[in-house]
Amino acid sequence: MKLIKNGALSNPDWIFCDDIDHARHGVGQILPHKVFLENLAKPVDTQRLVGIQIDVDTDLEDIIPYLDQLNLIVIEFASFVDGRGFSIARRLRQLLNYAGEIWANGKLFADQYPLAVQCGIDGVLVDEPLLQRQPIEHWREALDMHPAFRSLL
C-alpha cells in the first residue's frame, strides 16, 4: 500500500490495526472507528498518533467529541461511483472544522484525485495493481490538468 500526497508517492508511516494494544512506537495507528470508541477509557500514550477509519455510513455525530484527539481520518470509498466520501470530507472540514489529515482508501482512481483534494482530502492510499495501471505520473497529471473548482480556490 502506498500513499499519494501532494502529487508524490510515499510509504505511509501509519498502519491499519484492529486492536488498540498492537500499537508500535513511532508508527501511527489507524483503528476502525468503533474500536477507537470502545477503547476511549483506556489510558493511552499521549505521544501516540491516533487515526481512525470510517466508511460512508459512519455517523459523524459519534466521533465529533473526539475530533481534536485524531491526527488522521481515513475515509473508505466502497465504490468509485459512490461520491459520499467527498461530502463526508467536506463536512469534516467545513462543518466540523477538523484540521487533521484526511486520507481516502479504497476505490478511487487517478482522475478522481483532484476532486478528493478539492474536497479537503490530503492523501489517497493505493494498491500495487492500480499503481501499475495508473502510475504516479497519471495522478500528478490529473491534479495538474483538472480545472480548479472556482469557489474553493
Binding site: F80, V81, D111, L115, F149
Partner: protein
C-alpha cells in the same frame, strides 16, 4: 448575453485537453472501461446503437450567432451534416467517431462551448425560460442566476458522483416556460413583501419511470443565500439519496420517502451550519452580472403600422405571426419562435446549412441571440417588429417558417429506437405521422394549442408524462406498441398525465390520437383550449372514444 472571462475560457480549454488525455489512457488500458464510463459521460459522450453520440451543453438554451455557426461546422465536419436539439435545450450529434471527439471539443472551446456534465450522475446542464430577458411577464431576467448555477455546478468536486443525475431549471416569470416543477430543483425568481429579491425553491420533481411534480421546499430564499442553500440540498441528497436501485435514486424518491417536512429539516440543518463557509452568492452573482452585456435595443415606437398592414394583407404571414410571435417587453420588438417541426420532419433536427442560415438571421435580426426551447425549437428573442416579415420570408426559404408553435403538429419527440440504445420503440416515425395527419393549417388553428410529446421508452426523454397528449412507446413480444397518456402539463399547473388504458399498435396509434382530438372538438365549449376542456370533462369521454369498439 454572458461573455466568458479568462477563467471560463481556461476551464473549457483545460477540459478539452483533459478529455484528450483520458481517451488516450482508455486506449492504452490505463483506464478500464468502468473507470472511463463516468468520465466520458461527464463529457456528454454516449455509446448509442450505431455510433458515439455527443451531447453538447447549451447553458439555459442560449447561443450567439458565432456559436451556432460553429455547431453548423461541427455538423458538417464530424457528423453527417445535421444535429438534433433536445428537450433539455441541448444539441446532440449522433454519428461521431470516438477518436475525433477530443478535436471536436477543442473546436467547441474556441467558441466558449463544452459538453461538461451533459450526462452522468452529476448536476446537469441548467435550463431556463427561453423568453428570458425578452418577456414582459418576468420580474427579472433569470439568466444571471442560471449562469451562476452553471459556474458553481461545473466540475463541483463534491457532486460529481451523485446517486443519480440532477437537473435544475430557472425562471423569472409566473408563467412557467421552464417546467421548473418537474425538475430535481426548480427555481423561480420572486420578491418578498419589501421588494427584496429572492427565490422560491421547488424540489423533487422529475419524469422517468416514477413521474412526480415537485413541491415547495422554500417559499422565499434571500438571493444572497442561493449557493449555500443549493450546496445543502445537494449534500443531503448525495449522502442520503438511495444508491441501491438506480430507479429509486433521484431526489424525488428521497423527497417522497422522507416526506417534504423531514427533508426540509435536514436541508435546513445543513444550511444553517454551513452557510457562512459555503461559496458566497452575492459577490459571485455580481461578477456574473458584470459579464452580461445587455442587448442594445433601439428606441422604437410601440407597435408597427407596417406590421399591421402586412398581416392584414398576407394570411400566411399573419398566421405565422399569430402562432409563432410573442410580445416583447421593449416597445417595437417581438419574440419570434422558429419551429423545428416542419410537417413530416424530425423534431429538433437541423442541418449544418440551416444552422449557418439561422446564425446569419440571428446576427441580422435578433441582436445575435438564439435560444433553444425544451420543445426542441428555437427562439429569436429580440426581433424588431418591422423586421418580422423579412425574417419570415427568409425562414420560409430555409424550411424553418412553419407556423405551428404550440399547435398539434409541434410534436416533441426523443430520438427513440432509431438512435437510442435504451429505447423500446421508435418515436420519430410516430411524430412524423401525427404531423402529417394534422398538417392542414386551418385544422391546426381550429384545434388550438395542444402539446403532444412522445417518448420511446419509460425513461421519458420525450417528456410524455407532461404532454397534454403523451405517447409512450413500449415493446411486447418484439412488437412496438404505444400507450396514450392524457392531461399532463409542464407549466405552473404542472400535472402528470393519466394512462388512458391499453396501448395501440404502431399502425393504430395515430388514429387513436385523432379520436382524442375528435372527442375534444365535439365536447369543447366555444374557443375552449384542449387543456381546459380536459380539466373540465376529465379522462372519461376520451377513454370511451379510444376504446369504444373493445
Amino acid at each position: 448575453m454572458y461573455s466568458y472571462d479568462t477563467s471560463d475560457r481556461q476551464l473549457v480549454h483545460n477540459r478539452a485537453k483533459q478529455f484528450r488525455g483520458q481517451v488516450a489512457r482508455r486506449i492504452s488500458g490505463a483506464l478500464n472501461e468502468d473507470e472511463f464510463r463516468p468520465l466520458r459521460l461527464m463529457n456528454g459522450l454516449y455509446l448509442e446503437m450505431h455510433a458515439y453520440m455527443l451531447r453538447i451543453a447549451i447553458p439555459y438554451g442560449g447561443l450567439c450567432a458565432k456559436q451556432m455557426h460553429m455547431l453548423g461546422d461541427i455538423a458538417d465536419k464530424y457528423d453527417r451534416g445535421y444535429g438534433h436539439f433536445t428537450t433539455r435545450q441541448n444539441i446532440q450529434f449522433n454519428w461521431l467517431e470516438l477518436d475525433r471527439v477530443p478535436e471536436l471539443l477543442v473546436d467547441l472551446a474556441k467558441v466558449n462551448m463544452h459538453a461538461i456534465q451533459s450526462s452522468g450522475n452529476c448536476i446537469r446542464n441548467v435550463t431556463a425560460d427561453p423568453y428570458a430577458g425578452a418577456t414582459a411577464d418576468e420580474i427579472a431576467d433569470p439568466l444571471p442566476t442560471a449562469e451562476l448555477i452553471r459556474q458553481w455546478s461545473s466540475l463541483h468536486p463534491e457532486f460529481a458522483f451523485l446517486p443519480r443525475k440532477f437537473k435544475i431549471a430557472v425562471t423569472g416569470a409566473n408563467n412557467d416556460r421552464a417546467a421548473i416543477r418537474v425538475h430535481d430543483i426548480g427555481i423561480q425568481l420572486v420578491e418578498d413583501e419589501a421588494g427584496s429579491p429572492g427565490y422560491k425553491i421547488f424540489v423533487g420533481g422529475g419524469l422517468g419511470r416514477t413521474p412526480m411534480v415537485g413541491v415547495v421546499l422554500c417559499p422565499f430564499l434571500p438571493q444572497d443565500q442561493l449557493l449555500a442553500y443549493l450546496e445543502a440540498i445537494l449534500r443531503v441528497y448525495n449522502l442520503y439519496g438511495r444508491r441501491d436501485n438506480k430507479y429509486k435514486a433521484r431526489i424525488k424518491i428521497l423527497t417522497h420517502e422522507l416526506g417534504i417536512d423531514n427533508l426540509r429539516d435536514q436541508i435546513e440543518a445543513e444550511f444553517q451550519s454551513t452557510k457562512d463557509t459555503a461559496p458566497a452568492t452575492g459577490p459571485w452573482l455580481s461578477r456574473v452580472k458584470g459579464n452580461f452585456q445587455a442587448p442594445s435595443f433601439e428606441k422604437l415606437p410601440s407597435g408597427s403600422k407596417e406590421l399591421d398592414t402586412l398581416t392584414a394583407n398576407n394570411s400566411a404571414f399573419s398566421r405565422w405571426v399569430e402562432t409563432n410571435v410573442r410580445d416583447h417587453k421593449v416597445p417595437g420588438y417581438a419574440i419570434a419562435n422558429v419551429s423545428l417541426k416542419p410537417i413530416g420532419g424530425i423534431a429538433g433536427d437541423v442541418t449544418g446549412e440551416q444552422m449557418h442560415k439561422l446564425a446569419k438571421l440571428a446576427d441580422r435580426f435578433s441582436l445575435s441571440e438564439i435560444r433553444v426551447t425544451k420543445n426542441q425549437s428555437l427562439v429569436l428573442p429580440h426581433v424588431k417588429q418591422s423586421d418580422l416579415e423579412y425574417l419570415w420570408h427568409a425562414l420560409q426559404l430555409d424550411g424553418l417558417g412553419e407556423a405551428n408553435s404550440g399547435l398539434i403538429s409541434d410534436v416533441a419527440s426523443c430520438p427513440g429506437m432509431d438512435y437510442c440504445s435504451l429505447a423500446t420503440a421508435r418515436s420519430i416515425p410516430i411524430s412524423q405521422q401525427i404531423s402529417r395527419r394534422f398538417a392542414d393549417p386551418e385544422l391546426q388553428q381550429k384545434i388550438g394549442p395542444v402539446a403532444i410529446k412522445i417518448s420511446g421508452c419509460i425513461n421519458a426523454c420525450g417528456h410524455h408524462h407532461i404532454g397534454q397528449i403523451g405517447i409512450l412507446g413500449l415493446e411486447k413480444n418484439g412488437e412496438e406498441y404505444y400507450q396514450i397518456v392524457l392531461g399532463g402539463d409542464d407549466g405552473e399547473a404542472a400535472a402528470i398525465g393519466k394512462v388512458s388504458g391499453h396501448g395501440f399498435s404502431k399502425d393504430d396509434i395515430v388514429d387513436a390520437v385523432e379520436r382524442v382530438i375528435d372527442t375534444f372538438l365535439k365536447l369543447r365549449t366555444s374557443g375552449e383550449l384542449f387543456a381546459d376542456a380536459y380539466r373540465r370533462i376529465g379522462i372519461g369521454p376520451f377513454k370511451e372514444a379510444l376504446y369504444e369498439t373493445d
